[in-house]
């Protein structure tokens, strides 16, 4: 069929089963927008900033596992999208971003809204393409989706010059992909898996260390099965919250800088780390030389470059977490003896009882942790929780009862403030039946606050719970502990009227200072089914505990004050 390049882009998206595209038009991408206007294969959501478009596509992908799609114009449209690309790249989120580019004849001339998108995005995409000939366009679109979703997933950029989208040519969308230089290892070497199984059978204090790869691989059921059959305790990274399920007795909690006591102690004392799709990030390991010091390491990862990058690995297994665990379960079946690890479980239980995840609740001022636990009680497992970055993010990760993977959506690797609200829009588009709540702070929410308009226009009723402490809380916390309370540029006492701001953008706003008001506001926001800001005044100087100071050993935790100590 003969058509122009712009129509080919749309046809390719439809062929890939794309239902929702988030984007923002501009000069170089206008031809494609003209075709978007004419088609009805997918919906286009006009965000109010390109960064938000990319985060929304990202949130969509995280919520349902499909490839998220965003579309931007050249130059500033693209540069605004870069933070979104980098965010997705760091967390391995499958995404295709299509950017307009100046016509081929103008490339290299500093044309209007020209920027080297390929050069800029190279370090923050899994791969990128500049379309140089119309005949390449269908193949490139096919490859972009393939690369985004296979192996270790990631964002792929397709940069399309304006003259290519105007040109006419024959459109045949390829059925299959042939990239000889690209073939991720999925299966996992059986001999290595056998050795790992032997190590598990011999270990006395094994520990499952579960990372975001378990979510990406949709391996939650198998991870639970592996833990259940072996009765090996588990810790989750920030990216893996929900994989084991909050009620699972084998789950110790989250580990790392703000991990709970028993999780961090377990990692410090284990004799066998079974890493499933985790990558030993510095926020997880603390001081590397003290990390899992007494342990052998089984490292299952689809990306060979993650294995042995930071810690020495005794049992490297390159492969998809799902595939590898299936084989591990077969190997362990009828051989593994759960009672072998009973003493170990008991030690960890004692640790947990010694310092459970806790905070001192009060009734005169709302504690941020209370808000999160309360949301958990009121909407619990049916909700999807997104977050921005900072104290509220850590409290959400610590205190929300996540029951399933893809219920918790946050920017873990890059730590992008302003991610939560647009990501919530994407998650809500992916799961319209679910309540989507963005847990945010008074700092983060202002980065992408313009999405109130998008949410109102398209009736995407996400609820933003602003834990308002009039501070950039996490930086303030570090200033308290490590900078002698010099609160340099972190005091946010001067702030907008959040309720009025929401209302000005056709949403609803609530000001909350008591627990009763919070309950009422959340209930009302869910009932009204409109985009909402719930502005909750919380304790100003609350800190996130436990805390492992940067570059300190994981077992050196600053613990929360206990009742009567404060």
């Amino acid at each position: 069929m003969k058509m122009n390049g712009a129509q080919m882009v749309c046809e390719a998206l439809i062929a890939e089963g794309v239902k929702t595209v988030f984007g923002y038009p501009g000069g170089a991408i206008m031809n494609v927008y003209d075709e978007i206007y004419k088609q009805d294969g997918f919906e286009h959501i006009l965000n109010r900033h390109e960064q938000a478009s990319v985060h929304a596509a990202d949130g969509y992908a995280r919520a349902n596992g499909e490839v998220g799609v965003a579309m931007v114009t050249s130059g500033p449209g693209f540069t605004n999208a870069v933070t979104g690309l980098a965010t997705a790249y760091m967390d391995s989120i499958p995404m295709v971003v299509i950017s307009g580019q100046v016509p081929l004849s103008l490339i290299g001339t500093d044309g209007f809204q020209e920027i080297d998108a390929i050069g800029i995005s190279r370090p923050c995409t899994k791969h990128n393409f500049l379309v140089r000939e119309l005949s390449e366009l269908p193949r490139i679109m096919k490859e972009a989706f393939h690369i985004a979703r296979t192996g270790r997933p990631g964002p792929v950029l397709v940069d399309v010059p304006k003259d290519i989208t105007a040109e006419f040519g024959e459109f045949v969308y390829p059925d299959s992909v042939n990239i000889p230089s690209y073939s991720p290892t999925i299966k996992g070497n059986q001999r290595q898996i056998d050795k790992a199984v032997e190590a598990i059978l011999k270990a006395k204090k094994p520990l499952l260390y579960i990372g975001g790869g378990a979510v990406l691989s949709n391996a939650s059921d198998l991870v639970r099965k592996l833990a259940e059959m072996s009765q090996i305790p588990a810790v989750e990274t920030l990216m893996a919250r929900g994989v084991m399920g909050a009620k699972n007795p084998l789950l110790l909690g989250m580990l790392g800088m703000h991990g709970n006591y028993s999780s961090n102690m377990a990692m410090s004392e284990t004799d066998l780390v079974i890493s499933l799709g985790a990558r030993f990030d510095d926020r997880v390991t603390g001081k590397l030389s003290e990390f899992a010091k007494y342990a052998d390491v089984i490292h299952v990862d689809i990306d060979p470059a993650n294995i042995g990058k930071l810690v020495d690995v005794d049992y490297p297994i390159v492969g998809d977490v799902t595939e590898v665990i299936e084989k591990m379960i077969l190997g362990l079946k009828s051989k593994v003896k759960p009672e072998r690890y009973a003493d170990w479980r008991e030690v960890l239980e004692r640790y947990d009882n010694l310092h459970p995840q806790s905070f001192i609740d009060t009734d005169d001022v709302i504690k941020p942790q209370w808000v999160i636990e309360r949301i958990g009680e009121l909407v619990g497992e049916q909700a999807i929780i997104t977050s921005d970055v900072g104290q509220h993010q850590m409290w959400a990760a610590q205190h929300y009862p996540f029951d399933r993977p893809r219920q918790w959506i946050n920017s873990g690797g890059l730590g992008t403030m302003g991610f939560g609200f647009p990501a919530a829009l994407g998650a809500k588009k992916a799961h319209p039946q679910k309540t989507v709540i963005n847990i945010t702070g008074d700092g983060s929410i202002l980065m992408n606050v313009q999405e109130l308009v998008t949410a109102a226009e398209y009736k995407i009723p996400v609820i933003n719970v602003i834990l308002n402490n009039h501070f950039l809380g996490m930086v303030r916390q570090w200033q308290t502990f490590f900078y002698e309370e010099r609160y340099s540029s972190t005091d946010l006492s001067f702030q907008p009227n959040y309720k009025a701001l929401a209302e000005a953008c056709h949403g609803i706003g609530y000001d909350v200072t008591t627990k009763a008001e919070f309950d009422a506001a959340l209930k009302d926001a869910i009932e009204k089914d409109r985009v909402a800001f719930i502005n909750v005044q919380v304790a100003r100087f609350e800190n996130v505990f436990p805390m492992v100071p940067a570059a300190s050993a994981l077992y050196n935790m600053m613990l929360p004050p206990k009742e009567g100590e404060q």
Partner: protein
């Protein structure tokens, strides 16, 4: 960990921006590049990139894995058993002893390749450490300009 020198040979799809993907990877992740050469492989759509680099064994492993991850990379060969050659061109003032320098070049697999009115040019091709020796040896003939070519290597 002690630093090792390695020559890594990379076979890539011969497409625009592939060199920037590789040099960008080295720059972005703080890997060292001692020399880098690139040339198309005859009768294919591929190019050969040869990189001489230095670092700890763990870093070498990372470099190779990260190179492998790049989509247009077919093959990464890192081998201690490589035949390595490097070329160097040296320009001498015409006053210097042509015969001495010719003999010297001969000892390092080369010779005089150009003679002009006020200068002549010697060329040699040899192992990188021998090239270093050669450059030291010609120092006393007042070379006006020295251009090294970077390492090319092939697996034994």
């Amino acid at each position: 960990m002690e630093n090792v020198r390695r020559v890594i040979s990379v076979v890539v799809e011969n497409e625009s921006s592939v060199l920037s993907r590789i040099s960008g990877l080295f720059a972005g992740r703080g890997y060292n590049i001692e020399t880098l050469t690139v040339a198309p492989i005859p009768n294919t759509n591929h190019s050969h990139i040869t990189i001489a680099t230095k670092g700890s064994p763990r870093l070498m492993e990372q470099i190779i894995k990260q190179l492998h991850k790049l989509v247009p990379v077919y093959k990464v060969v890192e081998h201690s058993e490589m035949v390595e050659k490097e070329m160097v061109l040296v320009k001498f003032p015409i006053e210097e002893s042509l015969s001495d320098i010719e003999a010297l070049c001969g000892a390092y697999n080369g010779g005089i390749v150009n003679v002009g009115v006020d200068m002549f040019i010697g060329m040699v091709a040899d192992e990188p450490f021998r090239i270093k020796h050669f450059i030291e040896a010609v120092e006393r003939y007042n070379p006006k300009e020295i251009v090294r070519g970077g390492v090319v290597a092939i697996e034994r």
